[in-house]
Amino acid sequence: MNLTVKTRIAVSMSIVLLMSVATGGLSWFYHARAAEYAALSRAAFERSAWIETLSNQATTFFGEANDLALGLDAATTAESSAEYGEVMGVDNDISVFLSRPVEGFGEGELEKVTGEWGALRLAVFAWVNEHAAQGSLPTRLTLNPDGKVRASIDTNIPMPDEFEALDENEMRTTVRSKAEAFTLRTLRGLGVDASAEAQAAQRLELEARQRALTVMIVSFMLSAIVVLIAAVWLYRTIATPLNQVRNTAERVSSGDFELSFAYHGDDEIGALVHAIEEMRDAVIMRVKVMQEMAGVVTVTAESMRVAIDHAHEVAVADDNIVLVEALDEVGKRASVLKQLASQMLDS
């Protein structure tokens, strides 16, 4: 394949550029995937922590309500008010906490949590109020239309229909059943799911990061090999012929005119070689012309010298002083001319 120097450089640079773009693109892709999995992992861990906090708060609520229900029979009004307040405080905390759900829940999961929590607190309030009624205390727990609980002095609060016909044991069983259903089945199930999702996302993130690292290392090595091959190719097809041309040109400049250039490519270097060969041929021709001219001068000077010597003898014999002096002067110039020709040839 006979490519020009410009094309060779362009091809090499293009390959290196493509390798760089491919390396960067693949690394960016896997880093993006890793970041995506990391975000999923963070969301799952956050959801898991949220569920754990809610579970603790619900357990506290249930404990407080249980203590209140069991203590109402013998409690004084003042003690009962304080305990009502504790239950309402925990209930309020949970209400506030539920209003700030984290992202990452599946469809309907959050509504299920809220619904089961509502059912649990309703059962607890009914159970507490039942005990308050049995102890003839003037305070009850009631729900506002906005869903918030408050202590009420209204002792004529109706029981929900589903609890109306239950006796104490059945109501206790129902309350415990709802508490267990909420904390054990619902929250723990969600927590286990979140934990599994977080671990899976972490594993995927790690795999993506390792893949990104592998891609980077492999791409770097491939790029290095490609760059090396391109450099060797450029060196062998550009630098080596140029060095040969330079060496040949130096030998030609030192007078070795018989040398010829080994490079015959049809590219910029070939054009350079052709131009130098033309220059060499022109120099050879001029040197030959110069040598021939020097030969002409030498032969002419020698002929003049012979003629002048002969004329000088005749002039001396005729005692022609003026002619002798003139011939001496011309003879000197002929000698100088010959010396100059010799110097030119020696140079």
Partner: protein, 69 residues
């Protein structure tokens, strides 16, 4: 290539072979030819037209210098 150029090349080649060990002798011989013919054989190129007078003159000079042409 013209006959004139071929003749010049033959003369040059013969002189260069004859005086391959005597550079000054070669120069002197080429100068002798140039002085007698009135032109430089080195300057004659393949594209130069044939000049019968110059060809004859160069043949005579070559013969007088024992150059086979």
């Amino acid at each position: 290539m013209s006959e004139f150029y071929n003749l010049c090349t033959k003369v040059s080649s013969h002189l260069e072979e004859s005086f391959s060990q005597d550079p000054l002798g070669l120069i002197r011989a080429k100068g002798e030819v140039a002085t007698r013919t009135g032109f430089l054989v080195s300057l004659v190129g393949p594209g130069d037209p044939d000049d019968p007078a110059k060809i004859r003159l160069l043949q005579d000079v070559a013969k007088s210098l024992d150059i086979p042409v």
